[in-house]
Symmetry: C2
Subunit: 230 residues, 2 copies
């Protein structure tokens, strides 16, 4: 597959490395590729900038958002911060987004009042719904947004008793995305389809609990399991 | 123990039956006991009114909120709807609430726009925090609010791999509440202390996800398990 990854933060990096390891061609999108390559500082969580990895991995292209979506023609992986989510898609534009499948991992985290962040949209709306409403022909599938990067791409680290949720309006797109999740190591039983994109409200609102658990356990290696009586 | 249960809905009923079965004395509080006894209609979920059970269980007293808290001197179990939570406590008053331990199971569900409900407070505040802020000397422990009534009182129905969260400012009160949870069948490893009462924001905001899972699985017998890599 040719895959566009939008976002160069720790989520984008983890997904880029995983998807590259699965022998797909990836095009990483950023607002300004030369600025991104010049950035050599770690982020607030101590994650190294993507520039170091890209310099050592010449087969991966860092391009602007629009070029990434043009070239990554089979799948879009949306790993932007919530704050910049809609801006990013505006630079891509409707025509390139129509009929495309997009895995939306973004959460509307607002760090403006410190840690833990609040949500910039919640309860009566969600970021997933806002993206879907703005681009009605884009096939948004919200998933993977309820866990840390290492768990997203290495689910077996926690065994098989934990859940990845999925929300989206397009059934075929969800089937495609489930296949991508399986290629990451998720098994069918771990994937829970919540329903249409309005259910993204549920998973985005899990973040406040995730953040408080993270503060207690001090490891990214945890996730929620849906235990249903059989 | 002498236990006050505030609220006669399905949560209050499930807790009343469980606590009675553990040989404690219970005092169920309602706004107007004679009105409650006259109500013979099932609720929106098909649960029978508490009057039927009370008529068959003469050892249990149905009294007004204030009397319940006066007589249930060892523990308050708060099982009111979010809408009436603060009103209920106002009828009890500060002096009776000071230094008491209260298990707060309430969620700020707002059904005014239909199903699924939204939250009347979330993100930057929580109902647990509002109650604690209004009654600073009341020892509020938010717990059990992330699951159905049958799971609250019969956790073994789902095995032992699922979690009950706890939030509160008073460490001793949390120890007491953990003992109550254990008497319901929870084991130590299932009880996850998130921290102070501000963490109630996390568990109350789990409700939108809980509601959407419930809509899919159509059974109250499910819960979330916190899977942490050991």
């Amino acid at each position: 597959m040719k895959v566009a990854i939008l976002g160069t933060g720790s989520v984008g990096q983890a997904l880029a490395k995983k998807i590259l390891s699965l022998d797909h061609e990836i095009f990483i999108g950023t607002r300004n590729p030369s600025n991104t390559m010049e950035n050599t500082e770690s982020d607030a969580f101590g994650n190294p900038p993507i520039s170091a990895w890209l310099k050592a991995t010449p087969e991966v292209s860092l391009v602007d958002f629009k070029t990434a979506v043009e070239k990554g023609s089979n799948l879009i992986v949306f790993a932007m911060s919530g704050k910049h989510a809609l801006d990013c898609l505006e630079t891509v534009g409707d025509s390139l987004l129509n009929n495309r499948v997009m895995i939306d991992i973004s959460n509307p985290l607002d760090f403006s009042n410190g840690f833990p962040p609040t949500l910039s949209v919640s309860n009566t709306d969600s970021l997933g719904e806002q993206i879907q409403a703005k681009y009605p022909k884009l096939k948004v599938v919200k998933t993977l947004n309820t866990m840390s990067n290492p768990v997203m791409v290495s689910p077996s680290e926690l065994g098989s008793e934990h859940t990845v949720f999925m929300s989206g309006n397009d059934e075929d797109a969800k089937v495609d995305v489930a296949e991508v999740l399986k290629s990451f190591g998720w098994n069918e039983n771990q994937i829970f389809d919540l329903g249409d994109i309005t259910t993204a409200r549920g998973t985005e609102m899990l973040l406040p609990l995730w953040l408080r658990v993270f503060a207690k356990v001090q490891t990214p290696y945890f996730n929620f399991n849906l235990n249903i009586k059989s």
